[in-house]
Amino acid sequence: MRLFYLILAFGIFGAGIAYAQVSNDFGMESKLMAMEQIEKVQAPRTKDFKALDAMLDEAFACVDPEGNLLNKAEVLAHLQTDSSIEFVPNSLAVRIQGNTAIVTGLYWKKVMQHGRPFVRRSRFVDTWLYKGGRWVAIASLSTPSEVH
């Protein structure tokens, strides 16, 4: 009987840990999705470079859909002159592996080209790192989703 209670106690304890892990991962996923929204939609729209600066690691590397490699300063400078009028992320998926998270998704970016609105569809892979008690983006790669 004592053994039964011991096994039961261990079972409850284990389930508690597993539940805490799952809910923690779920919380992290929600947080990362919210950060992606801020990074890709809100901050560029409102030109909130302070928020972006805090979210991007100093060693942040970005590959844009034209295959250009940009560092953090270049990304921030580019966003200051960005003429896109709409930026819509879609199909976001988060995979957390220890202190690293991979976020994938699609986005539509409406830009003005030769005075006419033009929609560009891209797919992205972002790498986030849990560093110093917070998530920071260390890499981002976007590629045109029409390429075959």
Binding site: A61, V63, E66, R95, G98, A139
Partner: protein, 179 residues
């Protein structure tokens, strides 16, 4: 620092003596010896750690480069078993604008004729963030399809993670260089 080397009969020393507020010279009190010893201990303690970390970083970078090479080799040999060990089960791979899983990628490798594709790496950089590493670089690809050869340069970012004692690829993607 310069003050410590001033002679005792210097103007500053004289003034201090006159005011009755003269701290003992570190050279005379022997404190300099303690300080020097402390610095020496600190240096001897920190520098091997720094060197070890540097060596560890370059060792990790070499491991990651070797794995990237293994990946290219495995792909050209159509060795799905070798690739299976390099790729994490949750791998996300972004190629030609589509997101593919590990299973889909390995299935594609098995189907393709490696002799029709030629990939030449042009340069890579490895960045290490503890148990996460990024490989950033470019490669040139020549693909032959239905008798036609297409050439394209790509810029890529690969993300590796240290899991269960080995490095595995957890994400990879490439964008065509258009300019």
């Amino acid at each position: 620092m310069g003050g410590d080397c001033e002679p005792v009969n210097s103007k500053r020393g004289t003034l201090n003596n006159h005011s009755g507020f003269s701290p003992p010279s570190p050279f005379h009190s022997g404190k300099w010896l303690v300080r020097t010893c402390l610095y020496a201990v600190l240096f001897l303690w920190v520098s091997p750690a720094a060197l070890a970390q540097q060596a560890d970083q370059s060792g990790t970078a070499a491991t990651i480069r070797a794995l990237e090479h293994e990946w290219a080799e495995g792909q050209s040999r159509v060795d799905a078993r070798a690739l299976d060990l390099i790729f994490d089960n949750a791998l996300v791979y972004l190629e030609y604008g589509s997101l593919v899983s590990k299973g889909e990628y390995l299935a594609r490798i098995k189907r393709q004729n490696p002799q029709l594709d030629l990939i030449t790496y042009e340069g890579t950089t490895v960045r290490i963030f503890g148990g996460t590493a990024l490989v950033i670089g470019t490669y040139a690809e020549k693909r032959t399809r239905t008798g036609k050869t297409e050439a394209q340069r790509w810029r890529f970012i690969d993300t590796w993670a240290y899991k269960n004692g080995s490095w595995v690829l957890i994400a990879a993607g490439a964008a065509p260089i258009t300019r």
